[in-house]
Symmetry: C2
Subunit: 162 residues, 2 copies
């Protein structure tokens, strides 16, 4: 099982936007530059984030992306769901109803133990991702930044943000 | 993100083997018949279960699959890992080192917060699957079986098991 790479790009894009000063926005091309990824590739993930109300984009020369709500109100589960969808990774095919001695549909109103167990595990996965907000990620990233890189980041933000 | 269908087939195959009387085995073709799935398709998943020491197969006319260890010692995590592998669903590409103001490799010895959070969520997913053994699945399945189907299942097992 592999998660789409887009989740990683989207999470980093949101973390960058969370670091923007209030009232500023970043054009999609500058977010792509920051992450070192082709702008067209990132654009589709930014659109998915926009559809999920995680980012908003302004129009015109002052346009650019910013977060749609406070960083504390955006979790990794929101971002993963925006990119990968909310469908469960385990898709039950009602195997128990198949074969020469399969169960009747009537006896299968309750999902089988295998499906319920996989769905419960996914619930635990989502619950863990729901615990992590962009504030947590920013705080964690900040701990690894020395004074020199902080200056470089500040200068880049100053030149890139609208 | 979608889990391989093979995980579902493998889980059901293991549950069938867990229901076998002691000392009996089921040929792969009969497991496939029971599940209503092409034998060739199931064979590759049975091989994966065999490589993971979850099932063993006997040779010759009395050959057939049986569990490699007690049903209480086989979990859904074992089965999912056998089919999907143990690699994490989230594969970190060190995005933070990219772009014009990327971090140095030296500053990135510790995995970034995004990767750690996704890996922690996968750990929670695996922990939940590790809680579910074949004994749990059998007990759950047994609760949904009425007397008529119990007889049909018993007759099928009697004819199919070696």
């Amino acid at each position: 099982m592999r998660m789409s790479e887009g989740v990683e790009w989207a999470a980093h894009a949101c973390a960058v936007l969370a670091a923007l000063p209030d009232g500023r926005a970043l054009p999609g091309a500058r977010i792509a530059e920051y992450l070192g990824v082709p702008p067209a590739y990132l654009a589709k993930h930014l659109q998915a984030l926009s559809r999920a109300d995680i980012v908003v984009t302004g129009r015109g020369p002052a346009g650019g992306y910013r977060l749609a709500r406070a960083p504390a109100a955006i979790t990794l589960n929101d971002i993963a769901s925006a990119i990968e969808g909310r469908e469960p990774a385990f898709r039950c095919q009602e195997v128990r109803q198949r074969g020469p001695v399969g169960a009747s549909a009537q006896a299968c109103k309750r999902p089988c133990g295998i499906a319920r167990s996989f769905w419960a595990a996914e619930k635990a996965w989502r619950a863990a991702l729901r615990e992590v907000t962009l504030v947590d990620l920013l705080a964690d990233a900040a701990r690894g930044i020395d004074a020199e890189r902080a200056r470089a980041l500040g200068a880049w933000f100053e030149s890139a943000a609208r």
